[in-house]
Subunit: 720 residues, 2 copies
């Protein structure tokens, strides 16, 4: 680790970045004020001349919008129309009607067809489609998710699991919303474990039909958007059975209601009723009693049944076939990651604007009470979450680019698809949980005003609640990530020769021995003896942050791998027990991996920032993100001898004493860069109303004092 | 620290309790099976014969109901009436109407007058009143909080801040709900800082009236239940000004609406509209334009104004008078502590029953999928929260007894009142935050089913959201606790002689030096070398848990005190800055203190448990609570050299490998002891429906296999 001293003045850039680029920046800025002015033009053609001490919010705003900035801007512009906006307190039936109407409006506004084939009126624009879709959250998450059901699930399943015949027959009416559709995968009895669903589709060669059947109550399709009211058809997932063989889960196109909205013969269902949020969507249940559909309505891209019932598939392995089919649906996870990030931006913009105006309790200044954001605790509550949101935003952009690359066919190998799935499975849990945490902290930071529906936090949080368990339960997704990490780890081991393995094991044991005797810590403690600034400098630079975060992932995975060694030789019971005994730690390892991905994305993003003021502040923000992660896992670092007690304390001090006070003056710029306009925020407390009230009160008291009519305060008897 | 080895078998009690009582229990149980049967009769007269390997849920249920069990039971029985139950999805106006009607029903059911004077039809039963009030949450938190506004705030303010004249004039119509009333304290501009409100009540001796005035927009009264629609009167807090002197905040009885519901002259207001929850309550704003009220309508227990305008008070210090007046309103905090605890019991009962039935993913057993609660991760998510809920429950009982003692006059010294306030300010933040966390984790643990309104989690959570910021913002309350801790600390120092102080400071410095050199850690690390069981045994016993938790509080307070030394000699700016720089840590110290209080309450409660099975399981649960706390703060213990890395790891292992598996079979008993009946839970997933569905599915597959008609699974090509 390199030791970099704290820059002496605030005017210098953050320093600390170990790469050559930021070092040269530092030199340039340090050389004098020649580099202190920065000129650039953004895509809108505006030219900003922003002081090097500040953030170029126009440039940063554009940067944050990412590769599909135009799609996002178009979507945001459309969503200024108040006919798209959620009306709080609307009873469920009216809310559902309103959202259905809004979906028709989205069609008219050409807002939702980007991902469909050009020949059918789409744009074959996969990344832009998701980007624009994410923005829909600004109007109403119900609108977002219902359009996700129609075009992102129902439509995308026809697109990706069907073939040209299905595209021609069903996509036009899907795109136009003539046929609202349900995505009938989940059952009451099976959510996360899709492979175990109970619905069957049995081929009958006599009539060349599939017979769709729900054998028991647990196999009812459940929680499906469009199922309770609007859906005319469904893409239904069922076990395909032909010639007495169960070929596993396949998708079928199944009409469910007639034009009058009545269930077709054999189809039944019920309404899921009121939910914790997203009540503009008509979620419901469906069941099928030997419903017959034509053979050709099997969506047969990955599995075909001939007239005589012979099954064929381009993918020989049933397991790989199943995961390939499910993999086409990854966009749901991708878009939830981006949506939660956007919701966090909304919440933080509102809460930080309020925190910059709202005053409470007298401070040293007799004239004015203290602004909330000047309290250390308030900074602690909001600024690390702002840093996390930036990390989420940059990580999401990376995910979206990967997604677009795979789905456009630019980079669509098996490994690409696996990487995409792992990335989505890693990032979606963190961002959806963070979204809830951030909206809640924002709501609490605004007190009673934060609890009013008009200020957005509570309803956004209620709607986003289910994001943590749908499109893959977060805990289940993290286990998928952990299994991939273990797999990579094992693959590396098997390739290595025996000597390497021995070395690895010895390294593990040696490491543990070192920790036990505490020798490493003693050495570090002695080396640490000195000033806080010098001590923290040893971990403050980018390379050290990376090393600490990376090391933790590797070590955690290695530790679990070591404990799982030989599990394959155990009985099924013993192996399951061993795995279960390490389940929590596995999930923690996956989390650590995802956090590292976020940190790396943030750090990569810094590399493209040229304006010194912007770069400096974003570097502090990245440091705050990195340090907050390290602080969160401090016990691990201490237990594994990676940090001494003294250095660990210095990290907390550095956050409190340096990073928070440094970033505080730039908090408003950092949320302004999210470029959310009043029509998107729609929160009275984010409008300056609080400042107006405070000013009025202060002026009143000043005038009263000047008038000589002010009452004198009762004196305490002790002071008389 | 004593070293107690792990008991060899599950049949032995937990051991580990260092006090003589549990030691003798251990001896008795260990002596043989003679003590293994346990007979007792509870208040219902039932005789339970419960095996020593199990929990006596009937006895434990009674024990948890606490001192005011009868009041709780009466309340729970009344609330089985579905006319009290919340109807999800009711539009706000209908919900408000329904709750108002329910309040009238509570009057008819004699459910809400326990705290009022016997001579006016009450019972002078303060503890029982709060106990019964807390249970109202089971029907609908809106019903609870609206009745809290009417009888707990409006009525209690008349009772505690007024004198007999006010009681006679206003309590009967308050008790009967003839006069719905608002508690007009908070203003748009000032919530936590009540002393800075802007509303004035200026005495006019010419007419012997007070003139109530709202001087600017920020001084509008805000977020008041009963203000938007139903309130006919308000207890209004305003700065009392007479003879040119401002005597600070006092309370006044102010009529606001006529019998037709129209605002009286000079009074205005508006509706707060939709909120994140509690929408059965008509929260709103009020403002006053020189409204005149009779002199005698000052609630004058703690401050009187004579006809000529002379002010007198039994409490000379304005500061102490203010805090005394506010202190009479502590019951709000007390009851929110109990209500959040009860909500957690509801959530955990539903989630643990579902987790005990729901299966997902195949395990080692080919016939059955794995029950959710058998997953380590699921245990980790729910069981520590169950332990926390028990701790909250026992701590709340202690708080309620203190409250009753003060308010009944049994123990009502200044110190008693201070202790009560500090206890409430410490416990309310932890339990209200825990309530949200627990309900959210329960909702996620139930997946999509958890998101349905019918399963209770989402709506309970939405309603309880505001509990963390009203009746004292949690962060502000914890700062009050921290200041009290610092005060106690300083008082102890000033009493000590100079030598002691020197010793203390030296101790602090010496301690730090020891940590820096890492010597203590090395010593501990060496001592630790050995088996996990032996190592954890060194902290597993009660005395060691206590020492670790207590030491942390003392050290944290001492550290902050040391850093704040000399603040009184600094300029106002510098002192404020110094305090602010330690704000986050102060709040952490207060949290640690509150956690210790919860742990001590749980431990005290164990002392009264006789049945060996019950005692053993509750001891494990207390250990889980204590260990989870220590694990949460592991970084602190490591940094301060209180735990070695090896021992720290052993704590996590002990939770995962011992406590969770041991408690898992008793999870259902532990929630059954909450004695919540179907009419209180009203959650379809807590009814056994899931098990029925699973059984039906399993029977279907078994019959299919037996019939020989089951399709064979497609074989993977590799296996052919």
């Amino acid at each position: 680790m390199s030791v970099i001293d704290e820059p002496a003045t605030e005017a210098l850039p953050a320093g600390g970045a170990a790469d050559a680029k930021s070092a040269s920046d530092k030199a340039a800025a340090g050389a004098g004020s020649a580099a202190a002015k920065h000129e650039k033009s953004d895509k809108h053609g505006k030219t900003g001349t922003v002081d090097a001490g500040r953030i170029d919010t126009v440039w940063l705003g554009e940067y944050l919008l990412g590769k599909w900035a135009d799609d996002r801007r178009t979507s945001r512009e459309q969503l200024k129309d108040e006919r798209y906006h959620r009306i709080d307190g609307l009873p469920m039936p009216e809310h559902r009607e309103r959202v259905l109407g809004q979906l028709h409006r989205l069609v008219a506004d050409k807002a939702v067809h980007r991902a469909f084939p050009t020949r059918l009126g789409g744009e074959d624009n996969h990344g832009g489609n998701i980007a624009a879709f994410e923005e829909l959250l600004l109007a109403d998450p119900s609108l977002q998710i219902k359009s996700g059901v129609q075009w992102g699930l129902f439509g995308a399943a026809i697109l990706h699991l069907g073939t040209e015949r299905h595209h021609d027959a069903y996509l036009p009416s899907t795109m136009s919303l003539e046929t609202p559709g349900a995505f009938a995968m989940t059952e009451t009895g099976h959510g996360s474990d899709v492979a175990a669903i109970g619905t069957t589709a049995t081929y009958d060669p006599a009539t060349q039909e599939f017979v769709i059947n729900t054998p028991f109550r647990a196999a009812w399709k459940d929680y499906l958007g469009n199922a309770a009211k609007d859906g005319r058809a469904a893409v239904l997932f069922a076990k395909l059975i032909t010639q007495g063989v169960d070929h596993g889960v396949h998708a079928f196109y199944v009409p469910i209601r007639d034009l009058d909205g009545a269930f077709l013969p054999g189809v039944g269902g019920e309404d899921d009723g009121l939910k914790g949020g997203l009540n503009g969507i008509d979620n419901g249940r469906l069941h099928f009693d030997h419903v017959r559909i034509p053979r050709l309505d099997l969506l047969d891209r990955y599995g075909q049944v001939a007239e005589d019932g012979t099954y064929t598939s381009p993918i020989a392995s049933p397991g790989r076939r199943f995961f390939t089919m499910l993999g086409t649906l990854v966009q749901g996870r991708v878009s939830l990651d981006g949506s939660s990030t956007l919701a966090s931006k909304v919440g933080l913009t509102i809460a930080l604007r309020y925190a910059s105006e709202r005053r409470q309790f007298a401070g040293a200044d007799a004239e004015n009470e203290v602004v909330l954001l000047d309290y250390q605790r308030h900074q602690r509550r909001l600024l690390p979450r702002l840093a996390e949101t930036y990390a989420m935003s940059f990580a999401h952009e990376r995910l979206l680019e990967k997604f677009d690359s795979v789905f456009s066919g630019k980079g669509d190998t098996d490994e690409d698809r696996q990487d995409l799935e792992t990335l989505a499975a890693a990032l979606k849990p963190l961002s959806t949980w963070a979204g809830l945490d951030i909206l809640q902290e924002c709501r609490e930071a605004c007190g009673g005003a934060g609890f009013l529906a008009e200020n957005r936090f509570t309803q956004l949080r209620a709607d986003l609640d289910v994001y943590v368990t749908f499109e893959g339960d977060n805990n289940v997704l993290l286990q998928l990530v952990a299994k991939r990490l273990l797999g990579d780890y094992a693959a590396k081991l098997s390739k290595a020769d025996a000597g390497d393995i021995a070395g690895f094991v010895a390294g593990q044991v040696g490491d543990a021995a070192l920790n036990r005797s505490g020798l490493r810590k003693v050495a570090q403690a002695v080396a640490d003896f000195g000033s806080t600034a010098r001590s923290v400098g040893m971990v403050r630079d980018e390379a050290s942050q990376r090393q600490l975060l990376t090391d933790r992932v590797h070590t955690m995975v290695g530790e679990v791998a070591l404990r799982l060694r030989g599990a394959s030789k155990l009985s099924a019971e013993a192996a399951a027990e061993l795995f279960n005994a390490n389940q929590d730690e596995l999930i923690q390892a996956a989390r650590a991996h995802a956090e590292l991905l976020q940190w790396e994305s943030f750090t990569d993003a810094l590399g493209w920032v040229e304006h010194p003021g912007t770069k400096q502040k974003l570097t502090w923000l990245r440091d705050l993100f990195g340090f907050t992660l390290i602080e969160k896992h401090l016990a691990w670092y201490l237990m594994h001898g990676r940090l001494s007690a003294f250095r660990a304390q210095a990290i907390t001090d550095y956050i409190d004493d340096r990073l928070l006070p440094r970033l505080r003056p730039h908090a408003l710029d950092l949320v302004d860069a999210f470029q959310l306009e009043p029509e998107h925020l729609r929160a009275p407390i984010a409008t300056g109303a609080e400042k107006q009230r405070q000013d009025e009160a202060r002026d009143y008291y000043a005038a009263l004092r000047a008038s000589g009519q002010a009452p004198t305060p009762e004196k305490s008897p002790k002071k008389r």
